[in-house]
C-alpha cells in the first residue's frame, strides 16, 4: 500500500481524539470503498451504556445504511471495502468484519487486551472462524507510535474534557508521512 492509501488512517486519529474528549476510549474508524468514505465511527460505549459500541461497529452501521440508501448489495460492497482504525480491532469486531466479508483492515497499534487480528486470537484470518467468508487481509502497525500515545492519554486517567495538547503531533505525522492529509483543518465528525 502506498502512502496515499494510508490517508484515511490519519483521520481516524482525529476521530479518536474527539472520542477521548467526550470521555470515551480514543478509537476512530473509517470504511473506504473505492476511494469513498462510506462509514465513520468513534467509540461510544459510555454514552450508550452498551459495551459493544466500538468505533468499528458504528462505522459498519453507517456503511450498511449507505448500501441501503444507494440500493447496493452489501456483500459486494464489503468485499471491496477497507477498514481503517487506530487500534487493532477486538475479537468481537474482527468477528463482525469476518461475518460481513470485508476485504482489508489497516490499523495502528496492537490491542494486547482484546485484539482479534492476532493479539488474543486471530479471528480475522483464522480458518476456524470462516463462516464461509474469505480471510481478511490485515495491515498492522501503521503509525503505531502515535496510536499508542493516544491510548496512553486515556489509560493515564487524565481529564478527557481538557483541551488535548496532542493534536500538534498529528500535524507532525501528517507532514512527514501523510503529505496529502491536512489535519490542521477541522474535521466534521458529527
Amino acid at each position: 500500500m502506498g502512502p496515499k492509501a494510508l490517508y484515511p488512517l490519519g483521520w481516524t486519529f482525529r476521530m479518536a481524539t474527539t472520542a477521548l474528549q467526550q470521555g470515551e476510549v480514543p478509537v476512530g474508524c473509517l470504511l473506504v470503498h473505492k476511494g469513498e468514505i462510506i462509514g465513520r465511527g468513534k467509540n461510544g460505549v459510555n454514552c450508550s451504556k452498551n459495551a459493544t459500541r466500538h468505533a468499528e461497529m458504528l462505522a459498519i452501521e453507517e456503511a450498511l445504511d449507505w448500501c441501503k440508501n444507494d440500493n447496493l448489495d452489501k456483500d459486494a460492497v464489503f468485499s471491496e471495502t477497507d477498514l481503517y482504525v487506530n487500534v487493532e480491532p477486538c475479537v468481537m469486531c474482527a468477528g463482525a468484519l469476518r461475518l460481513l466479508g470485508i476485504r482489508r483492515v489497516v490499523y495502528g497499534c496492537q490491542n494486547e487486551r482484546f485484539g482479534g487480528c492476532g493479539s488474543i486470537l486471530n479471528v480475522a484470518s483464522d480458518q476456524r472462524s470462516g463462516h464461509g467468508q474469505p480471510i481478511i487481509q490485515c495491515v498492522p502497525g501503521v503509525f503505531a507510535d502515535t496510536s499508542v500515545q493516544l491510548l496512553k492519554e486515556f489509560y493515564k486517567g487524565q481529564n478527557p474534557n481538557a483541551p488535548n495538547p496532542k493534536i500538534k503531533r498529528f500535524q507532525d505525522v501528517s507532514q512527514t508521512s501523510l503529505p496529502v492529509l491536512d489535519v490542521s483543518q477541522p474535521v466534521d465528525l458529527t
Binding site: G23, S48, N50, A51, R53, E61, M92, L100, S129
Partner: protein
C-alpha cells in the same frame, strides 16, 4: 450423574484432558534408614522446582513389604548430553555425595502438572504420588450436582422464555433464536428478544447483540431503535439506573411482555427493584469509563447497574465469536445455551469464556432444553 436436561458445564480443557507425563531419574531405596538423609540432600542438590507438586518418594506395596523409590533429578538438571545409564553418571560432578542406600538407576514417569480434578488425581497416582487440592465447586460441576433441582427448574423456565420469544421471532419472519437476560438475585427479566439479522438491514443484529442493547436501554442507554419490535421486552429504566432521573423517559418507554413471562413481571415496569451496587473495575478497556466520569455518576446516583455485571444470559443457540466477545465486554456472569452451533464460540470453535489473555471470564452451561432448542433451528416445532 449428568441426567437429562441438567445444564452441562463447558469447562476449560485443563479440567477434562488426560494427564501428561514426564520422565525423571529415580532409584530404589535399598536401605530405608537412609531415606530422610537422601530426601534432604537431593532436595538441596536437585530441587524439583518445575515438579513441585510431585512427592519425592514413592512407596509401593510388594510381596516382601513396602518398596520405596526416590526421584534423583530431572534430565534437564544434568549437563550430560546423553541419557544416563547408571547412578554414578548422575553424581559424576558431585564426588562427595553419599550414595549409600540407593539401588539401581531407573527412569520413572511422573505427572507433569498438578491434577486439577479428582479424576486426574486418581489417574496421576497410578504413576507417582502428587499433591492435590480439591476444588469443591469444580467437583460439583463435574459430577452434575452443581445445581439443585429447584435451580434446574428455574434455569429451564428461563430457557422456556427464550424458546417462546424465539418462536415469536419465527412468526415475525425472523430467525428463531431467542435470548433472555436475567438478574439472578432479584429474579427479574431485564431483557428478552429474538434474532433480527434477517429482518433488519443489519446482519449483525444477532439475538445476543440485540439483548445487550436492550439491557443498556434498561439502564437509560441503548443505541438501536429496536424497542418497538413486536415481542421485545426490556425492564424500564429505574430512577437509580438513570444519570439524571427523568420520569418522562419512563412514561414514553414502550415495551411488551413476552407470552411466557410470569405474572410477577407484569408490574416490572413500575417497580423499583433493588439494584446491586456498581461493580466498577480498575482496569480500563473500551467498556470502562474514565475515573472522573465514574465519580460524576456516583455523585448523582448512589447505586446503579453496570453493563451486564452479575447478570445471566439464556439463549437458545450457542453464540458466535462476535456475540461471545460482546458478552466479555459486557461482563456477563453466566451463560446458558440450548443447542451448540458449528460456528459457536463458547465451546465449539472457540472458548471465549475462558480464553487466556482476556480480562473477564464467565461460566457457560450448554444442553439446557437442548431438544426443544434444536427443533427451533430445524423448524420442526
Amino acid at each position: 450423574m449428568q441426567g437429562k436436561n441438567i445444564p452441562v458445564p463447558v469447562l476449560n480443557d485443563v479440567f477434562t484432558k488426560p494427564i501428561s507425563l514426564v520422565t525423571v531419574y529415580s532409584a530404589e531405596i535399598t536401605d530405608k534408614k537412609e531415606t530422610s538423609r537422601l530426601i534432604k540432600q537431593l532436595g538441596e542438590l536437585f530441587p524439583l522446582t518445575s515438579l513441585s507438586h510431585v512427592k519425592r518418594v514413592k512407596s509401593s506395596e510388594k510381596i516382601e513389604g513396602k518398596q520405596l523409590q526416590i526421584i534423583l533429578c530431572t534430565p534437564d538438571q544434568l549437563e550430560n548430553d546423553a541419557p544416563c545409564t547408571n547412578i554414578d553418571e548422575i553424581f559424576c560432578t558431585l564426588p562427595d555425595f553419599n550414595k549409600s542406600g540407593l539401588g539401581k538407576l531407573t527412569c520413572s514417569k511422573v505427572p507433569e502438572y498438578q491434577p486439577k480434578t479428582r479424576a486426574q488425581f486418581i489417574e496421576a497416582q497410578k504413576y507417582w504420588p502428587t499433591a492435590f487440592h480439591e476444588d469443591k465447586e469444580l467437583s460439583r460441576l463435574l459430577d452434575g450436582t452443581f445445581f439443585s433441582k429447584t435451580e434446574v427448574e428455574r434455569i429451564n423456565s428461563y430457557m422456556n422464555t427464550a424458546l417462546s420469544i424465539a418462536r415469536r421471532g419465527g412468526k415475525e419472519g425472523a430467525l428463531s433464536i431467542g435470548a433472555v437476560i436475567v438478574n439472578p438475585d432479584s429474579r427479574d427479566i431485564i431483557a428478552s428478544c429474538y434474532d433480527i439479522r434477517q429482518v433488519s438491514s443489519n446482519p449483525l443484529r444477532h439475538a445476543v447483540m440485540v439483548c445487550i442493547d436492550l439491557v443498556a436501554r434498561s439502564q437509560g442507554g441503548g443505541a438501536w431503535n429496536i424497542h418497538n419490535t413486536p415481542g421485545f421486552y426490556w425492564k424500564s429504566p429505574t430512577c437509580e439506573a438513570l444519570i439524571k432521573p427523568d420520569s418522562s423517559s419512563r412514561e414514553t418507554a414502550h415495551h411488551e411482555c413476552p407470552e411466557a413471562e410470569s405474572s410477577t413481571n407484569e408490574t416490572g415496569n413500575t417497580r423499583h427493584s433493588p439494584q446491586k451496587s456498581t461493580a466498577l473495575v480498575d482496569d480500563a478497556d473500551q467498556s470502562n469509563e474514565p475515573k472522573n466520569l465514574k465519580r460524576k455518576h456516583n455523585d448523582e446516583v448512589q447505586t446503579s447497574s453496570y453493563l451486564c455485571t452479575g447478570l445471566e444470559l439464556y439463549v437458545t443457540q450457542e453464540p458466535c465469536v462476535m456475540c461471545s466477545m460482546a458478552l466479555v465486554h459486557s461482563r456477563i456472569q453466566r451463560v446458558f445455551y440450548g443447542s451448540p452451533h458449528p460456528d459457536g464460540a463458547l465451546g465449539s470453535r472457540y472458548n471465549i469464556h475462558y480464553q487466556p489473555g482476556l480480562n473477564h471470564h464467565f461460566q457457560v452451561f450448554k444442553g439446557v432444553l437442548e431438544e426443544e432448542c434444536k427443533q427451533l433451528v430445524t423448524g420442526v416445532t
